[in-house]
């Protein structure tokens, strides 16, 4: 009996490890490719990207295995000019955590695009946050200006009820998908409050980057 169980466990272990080892390079390549595509999608005009790690109030280029802090991706156009910065944000939605990538433009101090990475909310209702044109229009120039001390956002990004948007930092919710819309607002606010002060402070590192590290 022990021998049989041992053999079974051994075969199972070998199978799992073999599958892991065989597929790992392909999975990593897929992850990189998906990231590349989504980063360049939220940063139209960018042709190359470079990743940085933001921790406390530091910003440094991303090296392999460095996961101490939030990862942001700076996109540059053909001339090496900074187009914008893509960062990941997440918040609790209706069913599960909604993860998204957003683009921040240091020039206009605003959020210029979002792309939902994972969303398990109700198909046809909650998933409108990635398709509804009126909702996505919120993120063409969503204000994310810093306050006078440059320590946090001057106005927190909030989601307001459908049709009630008046200020540039407000998100007009989708009627019927309020919970999912609010999650986007919360995710953006949480992330931007933390990242934008550092990004603005370290802007020279970001704009210099493509010339220093080819």
């Amino acid at each position: 009996m022990m021998a049989t169980l041992g053999i079974t466990a051994l075969v199972a272990g070998v199978l799992v490890v073999a599958a892991f080892e065989i597929t790992r390079p392909q999975i990593e390549a897929n992850r990189r490719q998906v990231l590349e595509q989504t980063v360049l999608r939220v940063l139209p005009g960018a042709s190359t990207r470079q990743s940085f790690v933001v921790s406390a109030d530091q910003l440094r280029p991303l090296h392999n295995g460095d996961t101490d802090g939030a990862v942001v991706h700076a996109g540059y156009d053909h001339n090496g000019r900074l187009v914008g910065i893509a960062a990941e944000a997440a918040a609790r939605g209706y069913q599960d955590i909604i993860r998204l990538l957003y683009a921040y433009s240091p020039d206009c101090e605003c959020i210029t695009a979002i792309h939902v990475l994972s969303n398990k909310d109700t198909p046809g209702i909650g998933d409108k946050i990635s398709t509804d044109p009126a909702f996505l229009a919120n993120f063409r120039a969503l204000a994310a200006q810093l306050n006078a001390e440059r320590s946090a956002l001057g106005h927190a990004i909030v989601t307001v009820k459908h049709g009630k948007k008046v200020a540039a930092w407000e998100i007009d919710a989708i009627s019927g998908a309020t919970v999912s819309s609010r999650a986007i607002g919360k995710a953006l606010n949480d992330s931007a409050q933390r990242l934008v002060p550092v990004l603005q402070q370290q802007l020279t590192v970001l704009t210099r980057a493509p010339r220093e590290t080819p």
Binding site: M1, G13, T23, R24, I27, P123, I125
Partner: protein
């Protein structure tokens, strides 16, 4: 798989029926009503249905083969635990394989890939078939059941995607004027479509001479 191959022991000879019974007479979705959790959850598009069906088929064939190989050595008292370990290994293999093939499909199928481990179709096949039959029989039968499961999922997924999104495999079918029937993507739509297919299949089976439209035999596999 030819009919001339001789079976080794008392098991009936390997025939076309070994393969076909899982597709038609004992179709897991449309006749046996097994594996309803993934059936309902991932059939909101044809692509997801196809991916889930093929993943389950692979786990079915692989685990049935291994269970059948070990059938004379596994003690009865620990057989369920052994089957679960075997099924879990193949599920993990599929999990990695799908991540390697397409991350979009992987995130669409979500937790239901890992939940193949507790899919009652697979455990049911291991317990009721592979633990008593030779390897080749088990694999052929598992292939049939897997294709039957895939067929069931594809029938549901195709109709739900067509009506709920107006597309098939992501390609628009009806043109821009089509108003998607969103409820078809939601759980109620799954039940509507399943009910309609069951109606059609029971009616078809009832029309066959000599086959009474009896309900499927009761298989209590937990869910």
């Amino acid at each position: 798989m030819t009919p001339t191959e001789k079976p080794k022991t008392e098991t009936p000879p390997l025939s076309m029926d070994t393969f076909l019974q899982g597709i038609w007479r004992e179709n897991p979705v449309l006749v046996m009503m097994l594996g309803m959790c993934p059936t309902m959850a991932v059939t909101n598009s044809l692509g997801n249905a196809l991916g889930m069906g093929l993943a389950t088929t692979f786990v079915l064939i692989g685990s049935n083969a291994l269970v059948s190989m070990l059938r004379k050595r596994v003690p009865g008292t620990v057989r369920i635990a052994t089957y679960i370990v075997i099924i879990a290994s193949f599920t993990t293999v599929v999990d990695y394989a799908i991540q390697g093939i397409s991350l979009a499909l992987y995130s669409a199928l979500g937790a239901f890939i890992q939940l193949i481990v507790v899919n009652c179709i697979i455990l049911g096949r291991a317990e009721a078939y592979a633990s008593r039959r030779p390897v080749l029989h088990s694999m052929v039968n598992a292939g049939g059941v897997g294709i039957g499961f895939t067929l069931g999922l594809v029938l549901l997924g195709g109709v739900r995607e067509l009506l709920g999104s107006g597309s098939l495999l992501g390609f628009p079918v009806f043109g821009p004027g089509f108003q998607p029937w969103v409820i078809m993507l939601l759980p109620p739509g799954g039940f509507f479509v399943l009910g309609t297919w069951l109606l059609l299949f029971n009616w078809l089976r009832g029309r066959q001479p000599g086959v009474a439209p009896t309900p499927a035999p009761v298989h209590d596999h937990g869910r």
